[in-house]
C-alpha cells in the first residue's frame, strides 16, 4: 500500500524567529502521503496544521523558517527531492507549487483576488505550467469549471469571486488548484466556511476527482467528521507535534493517545441523552510560544503522571507499520517506572 509514496515529511520543524522569541509552530512532524490516498491532518486551531502545509510549499511567511527536517517529494521518474534544500523562490520550487502540489484554502471568500476575474486567475494558473495561448487556456479553464460542476462555465470565467456563492467559489478554487494537474492536493480546511450540504458536495467532488486522477490528497481540518468521511490515514497534531498516527480505523475505533480519545469524546452523538453535557477538553490550547514542559498536552490531560509527563518528553511508540503514539502511557515504560521509583 505504501509503495507509491509521493511525499514524505520527516521530523519537520518550522519556527517563527521573532525578536520576542521563537515560536515553534511545527516542531517535529513526520508523515507520508501516497498516490490515490487521503491523509487527514487533524487538530485544534493553532496546532500547526496550516504551517505544515505552507512549509511543504515553501511559502511560510517571514519570520518563519524551516529549521530542521526533510520534505521528500518523489519526482515523476521515481527519484526523491528534498524540498527543504531547494531555494524557496527558485525555479524548481515554483514548478512544484501548482504544478506538483495544488493548494485549496479555507477562505473561499478571500482566496481569489476581488479585482481579477475568475478566468484571469484560472488561465494564469494554467499558463504558468503549460505552454498554451490565451484562447487555449481559456478553453481549458472552462473545461475545468465544468469538471468541478459549475453550471455556466463560460459566464463564470468573466465573473469576480464575490459574484459567486460560497460553494461555487470553493469549486472554482478546486478547479484553480487542479488546473496544472498536480499529483498532490493540499486542502486546508476546505469546507469549514461552507454549510453542511455544500460541505458534503465539495468533499464528494474532491473524492471523485481523486479517483479519476489517482491523486494524493492531504486534508487539513479540525473536523473529525470530515476525516471519518474522507481520510485513509490520519495524523493527530497538538501544539506543533504529532501525538498519534494511524489508519482512519485505528484512530476512530482504537484511539490510544488521551488527546485523541478526548477529541472523539467531544463529538456530539445522535443517540446521546437529551441535554446531556458534551464532554470538553479542559483548558485551552496554550500558545506555542510558551509550550508546557514535558508532554505539551499534560496540563489538560486527565491521565497525566506527575513527575513524568510534565518533565520528560514522550518517545514515539510504533506498535505497527504506520501506527504511532507519542505518549508516556504507551511503549517502553521502563524509564517511566524508574523515574517514578526515584521520586518515591
Amino acid at each position: 500500500m505504501r509503495t507509491d509514496r509521493l511525499l514524505s515529511v520527516r521530523n519537520l520543524k518550522t519556527y517563527f524567529l521573532a525578536d520576542e522569541g521563537v515560536t515553534k509552530a511545527v516542531d517535529g512532524v513526520s508523515f507520508d502521503v501516497s498516490a490515490g490516498r487521503t491523509l487527514g491532518i487533524v487538530g485544534e486551531s493553532g496546532c500547526g496544521k496550516s504551517v505544515t502545509a505552507l512549509s511543504i510549499l515553501r511559502i511560510v511567511d517571514d519570520p518563519g523558517r524551516i529549521v530542521d527536517g526533510e520534505i521528500l517529494l518523489t519526482k515523476n521518474d521515481g527519484t526523491p527531492v528534498d524540498l527543504v534544500t531547494q531555494r524557496p523562490n527558485g525555479k524548481f520550487m515554483r514548478s512544484v507549487r501548482g504544478g506538483e502540489i495544488g493548494l485549496v484554502f479555507q477562505e473561499p471568500m478571500t482566496s481569489f483576488s476581488p479585482v481579477h476575474t475568475i478566468g484571469n486567475q484560472l488561465t494564469e494558473a494554467i499558463r504558468l505550467h503549460e505552454r498554451l495561448n490565451k484562447a487555449e487556456a481559456r478553453e481549458r479553464a472552462a473545461d475545468l469549471l465544468t469538471m468541478v460542476g459549475i453550471p455556466r462555465p463560460a459566464a463564470t470565467l468573466d465573473q469576480y469571486s464575490w459574484e459567486l456563492s460560497g460553494g461555487l467559489r470553493q469549486r472554482a478554487m478546486i478547479a484553480h488548484a487542479l488546473a496544472p494537474d498536480p499529483r498532490l492536493l493540499i486542502a486546508d480546511e476546505p469546507t469549514t466556511a461552507l454549510d453542511v450540504t455544500t460541505q458534503a458536495q465539495i468533499l464528494d467532488l474532491m473524492m471523485s476527482l481523486q479517483e479519476e486522477r489517482s491523486m494524493a490528497i492531504m486534508l487539513i481540518t479540525h473536523d473529525l467528521g470530515v476525516i471519518a468521511e474522507t481520510a485513509d490515514d490520519v495524523v493527530v497534531m497538538y501544539l506543533g507535534r504529532e501525538v498519534e498516527q494511524g489508519s482512519v480505523e485505528n484512530i476512530f475505533y482504537d484511539p490510544q493517545h488521551p488527546y485523541t480519545r478526548a477529541l472523539l469524546r467531544s463529538i456530539p452523538a445522535l443517540d446521546a441523552a437529551p441535554k446531556a453535557k458534551l464532554p470538553a477538553i479542559t483548558g485551552s490550547v496554550p500558545h506555542p510560544f510558551d509550550r508546557p514542559s514535558g508532554c505539551s498536552f499534560h496540563p489538560r490531560c486527565s491521565e497525566a503522571i506527575e513527575g513524568l509527563c510534565d518533565i520528560e518528553e514522550p518517545e514515539t511508540w510504533r506498535p505497527a507499520e504506520g501506527r504511532e503514539v507519542v505518549c508516556h502511557l504507551f511503549g517502553d515504560r521502563e524509564m517511566a517506572v524508574s523515574i517514578e521509583g526515584r521520586r518515591s
Partner: protein, 329 residues
C-alpha cells in the same frame, strides 16, 4: 455603474451649489454694497451725485431686491459666464483672472501627478521591504515632508536655489516670457519652471500617500489570495505586483480625492510665496482690497475645479474597482 456615476455627479452639483452660496455670502460680507463703494469713490474724486442716481444704479444691479433674488441674479450671470466687475481693477473679473485659472489648474494637477509618481512607488517599496533601511528612510522623509508647511518648503527652495544655483526659482516664467504671447518657447519655459511649485505643493500629499499606500499594501499582502497566487507558482515579485498592489490602489485612488482639495488650497498660499501668476496672489490682494466680486469669483472657480477633480478621482476609483462598477458597494 450609472447609478454610481449619477450619485457622484449629483453630489458634485450639490457641493457646487453650496460653494456658490458661500461665495455669494462672501461677496455680501463687507458693509455697504457695490453702489455705496462706487459713490464713495466718485465723491472722493469730487464728483457730486444725486440720490436718484444711486437708486437707479441699485435698481439696475438689483441691489434693492431681496437677498435670495440677488443671489439668483448673480448666479444667472455666472452661468452665462459673467462673473461681475472688479472694483479695484475696474475691469470684468474674467479679464483680471485671464489665463491665471488654467495656470492654477496646471500647477495643481502637476502637483498631483508629482505626488502620485513619488508616493506610489515609494509606498510599495516600503510595504514590500517593511522595516528595511529603505523603509525607515522613506518613513523618516515622509514624516518630515508631512510636518513641513509647504510655504516654508517654498522659501527654503527659493533660498537654496539662489544660494547654490544662483537662479531664481520663483514664478512660472522667465522674465522675457512673462508678458510675451503664447509660443512653443514660452511653453518650454513654463515646463522648466513647473517642477518647483509641483514639488513644493506635492510633498505633503506625497508623504501622506506614502503612508496610505504602505498601510494598505501591508494589509493586502497578508490576504489569502496572495498565498493562492504564490501557491500556484508565481514568483514573489509577480504575486505581489499583480495582486495586492493592484487591490491596494483602490484606497489610494479614493484618497487622491481627499488630497486634491488640500493641493488646490495650498496652491493659493504657495503661489503668493513663489509669486506664481496663478489665482493665489489675486485672491489675496482681492481680499485685502475688499474686491469682493473678484474674491467670490475666485473662490467659486477654485471650488468648482476642486469638485471636478474629486469627481474625476471617483470615476478613476470606479474604473479600478470592479466591485463599484458592478454596483456591489
Amino acid at each position: 455603474m450609472w447609478a454610481y456615476i449619477l450619485r457622484r455627479a449629483a453630489l458634485g452639483v450639490l457641493t457646487l451649489f453650496v460653494i456658490s452660496i458661500i461665495s455669494f455670502a462672501i461677496i455680501q460680507l463687507p458693509p455697504g454694497d457695490f453702489v455705496s463703494t462706487a459713490l464713495a469713490e466718485l465723491a472722493e474724486s469730487g464728483t457730486e451725485t444725486a440720490d436718484e442716481f444711486a437708486a437707479q444704479l441699485r435698481a439696475e444691479y438689483g441691489l434693492d431686491r431681496h437677498i435670495v433674488v440677488q443671489y439668483g441674479i448673480w448666479m444667472g450671470r455666472v452661468l452665462q459666464g459673467d462673473l461681475g466687475t472688479s472694483f479695484f481693477h475696474q475691469k470684468p473679473v474674467l479679464e483680471v483672472i485671464g489665463d491665471r485659472l488654467p495656470l492654477s489648474m496646471l500647477v495643481s494637477v502637476s502637483a498631483l501627478v508629482f505626488t502620485l509618481l513619488i508616493a506610489i512607488p515609494i509606498g510599495i517599496y516600503s510595504a514590500v521591504r517593511q522595516y528595511s533601511a529603505g523603509d525607515h528612510i522613506a518613513t523618516f522623509l515622509g514624516f518630515l515632508g508631512l510636518a513641513t508647511p509647504n510655504f516654508l518648503l517654498a522659501l527654503v527652495m527659493l533660498y537654496a536655489g539662489f544660494l547654490w544655483l544662483d537662479v531664481s526659482l520663483a514664478g512660472l516664467f522667465s522674465v522675457e516670457y512673462a508678458t510675451a504671447p503664447w509660443s512653443l518657447a514660452k511653453l518650454g519655459d513654463l515646463l522648466v519652471h513647473l517642477p518647483i511649485p509641483a514639488i513644493v505643493l506635492g510633498t505633503a500629499g506625497a508623504a501622506q500617500l506614502i503612508r496610505i499606500t504602505r498601510a494598505n499594501l501591508l494589509d493586502e499582502k497578508r490576504q489569502p489570495y496572495v498565498t493562492t497566487a504564490r501557491a500556484k507558482g508565481l514568483s514573489n515579485r509577480r504575486a505581489i505586483g499583480k495582486y495586492p498592489v493592484r487591490v491596494a490602489m483602490n484606497p489610494v485612488a479614493s484618497s487622491v480625492g481627499l488630497l486634491f482639495p488640500n493641493i488646490v488650497s495650498g496652491a493659493v498660499i504657495v503661489s503668493v510665496v513663489l509669486s506664481l501668476p496663478t489665482m493665489g496672489p489675486v485672491l489675496l490682494s482681492s481680499l485685502l482690497s475688499q474686491d469682493m466680486y473678484l474674491a467670490g469669483a475666485i473662490i467659486l472657480l477654485l471650488g468648482a475645479f476642486t469638485v471636478l477633480g474629486v469627481f474625476l478621482s471617483d470615476l478613476a476609483l470606479m474604473w479600478l474597482d470592479p466591485r463599484i462598477r458592478h454596483g456591489n458597494l
